[in-house]
């Protein structure tokens, strides 16, 4: 043992702590080879499946690719973001969050680390979806402004769903159950206009599909990238995302300080 006297530290500033936690989460992501591989493979596999397996049956002229790319972007973002529930829960059950809470810092910034790392990881997945789409023949008609708006909305969606997953991670009993609860959120894109137009669904389902949050977000991204009718989808989609972020932030704020490892 060294017998150095280490002066008592006042702790990192909130912004400094957030930056340190972002670095930590990004590094964890890079180290987790399996998760990284999934993050890259999943978008590629989903693109190929929807284009070549379902695409022919849905629209034999190949136009399905243009229809489905925005849906797959959101589906992948959801899958990618669900990892946050597991990372947050792992921090909780291993006692890491206990330790951070006993440091003289604003400890919820640990969640900022997870959320920002998820944003980076999922924007990368979005890039892969678009890249594979273009290689398969996807030809977006968007101008630079439309691109920025579309990617901005995708980023906002990732932020919203990541924040919700962070909350799930905080209240779940174990990393496994955190993963399980996440599937409820991941199911939403299937009952939206992501893969088939809502007009093809039975009446009772159509009402839900039209008004659930995923549909306006997808319609906005689709409209911006491929020039389909936008209508009021944009503001509605943004409102859903902002609402989800605010609600998740409040829930996290209320829960964080009450959760300990045991």
């Amino acid at each position: 043992m060294t017998t150095l006297t280490i002066p008592s530290g006042r702790g990192a500033s909130p912004l400094g702590a957030a930056r340190i936690f972002v670095e930590r989460s990004l590094r964890q992501n890079l180290r987790d080879g399996e998760a990284m591989l999934m993050a890259i493979l999943l978008p590629v596999i989903l693109m190929l499946t929807f284009t070549y397996v379902f695409g022919g049956a849905i629209a034999s002229d190949g136009s399905y690719l243009t229809y489905v790319v925005p849906g797959i972007i959101l589906l992948c973002a959801g899958f990618g973001a669900s990892g946050v529930a597991v990372s947050v829960n792992r921090d909780l059950t291993t006692g890491a969050i206990n330790r951070f809470r006993t440091l003289p810092i604003v400890s919820p910034t640990v969640l900022v680390g997870h959320v920002v790392a998820s944003l980076v990881r999922n924007l990368l997945a979005t890039g892969i979806v678009i890249g594979v789409g273009v290689a398969l023949g996807f030809r977006p008609t968007a101008n630079p402004v439309e691109w920025v708006l579309a990617l901005g909305l995708v980023a906002l969606y990732i932020l919203a769903i990541t924040a919700l997953f962070a909350f799930i991670g905080l209240v779940a009993g174990s990393p496994e159950s955190a993963n399980g609860y996440g599937f409820l959120l991941l199911f939403l894109p299937y009952v939206s206009s992501a893969f088939v137009p809502v007009e093809t669904m039975p009446g009772w389902l159509r009402g839900f599909a039209e008004h659930q949050p995923i549909t306006p977000i997808i319609e906005t991204v689709r409209g911006l990238l491929t020039g389909t009718e936008l209508g009021s989808a944009g503001p509605v989609g943004v409102a859903w995302c902002v609402g989800a972020v605010v609600i998740a932030a409040v829930l996290v704020g209320v829960t964080f300080s009450r959760r300990t490892a045991r």
Partner: protein, 293 residues
Amino acid sequence: MASAIEVDALRKSYGSAVVLSDLTLTVPSGIYSLLGPNGAGKTTLVNILTTLVKPDGGTASICGVPLTDRRCVRQQISVTGQFAAVDALLTPAENLVLIGRLLGMSARRARGRADELIDSFDLSASAGKLVRDLSGGTARRVDLAMSLVQQPKVLFLDEPTTGLDPTSRRRLWADIRALARTGTTVLLTTQYLEEAEALADRIGVLAQGRIVAEGTAAELTARIGGEELVLTTGDGEVVRTLTTDGTAGGVAAALAQLGSDAAGLHVELRRPTLEDAFASLTGSGIDREKVAA
């Protein structure tokens, strides 16, 4: 100078389950061991004293700073819990640097401090590996090192050796003793009597949410009376146990009370162990016949 830890009438319940009931405790300095069975309230007390959980009532202070001043308390303490709270996907060095920087050190200073700790905890062979590839014992030592990036005035160790093999346990004990010599007060919870006896200057016995006895290991042992005369058959079966004060006169008097049917029995003089004290104090005792001498 204020005591390292001062706890007064602390109360905590979860629903109708009372976990701590009017717990009062003073830890002056050195190593203090909180000994108790599972569910006695050890972890709850540690969680309250480390600002993680709010008590329902009562007060406590760390080095004179009331618990309500959380930020200031957090500057005095460090905690190592029952699980190794170490980042599995980072190396030991990266884990230590992370804590250093969160404490407000510059990146350079944090790296320097990490190097010192890796040296003193003899972790250099593991420093470049990811924690997930280390043994449980080594991960615990990294965990302890993380609690010492900044030398705390009070270190809380909640069952630090649970699940460790005997060698790793002894090694961690040596680290804890060395730390206490540098002036850090250690509050150690354990359900192992051997651990409390080996490390602690003072022991508090916690049962059903309150301290039922307190003192050095010797004092606790003395509290349940003197030495015992154990009478056994030739096969080693215990027939009777007599309590005496351990003096020749006391032993003779105790033996004189026995009838002639005891003449063939073997006599053994036994000092009470901390385990006996623990059993009699917490009521979770080994049943045996007691005869007043």
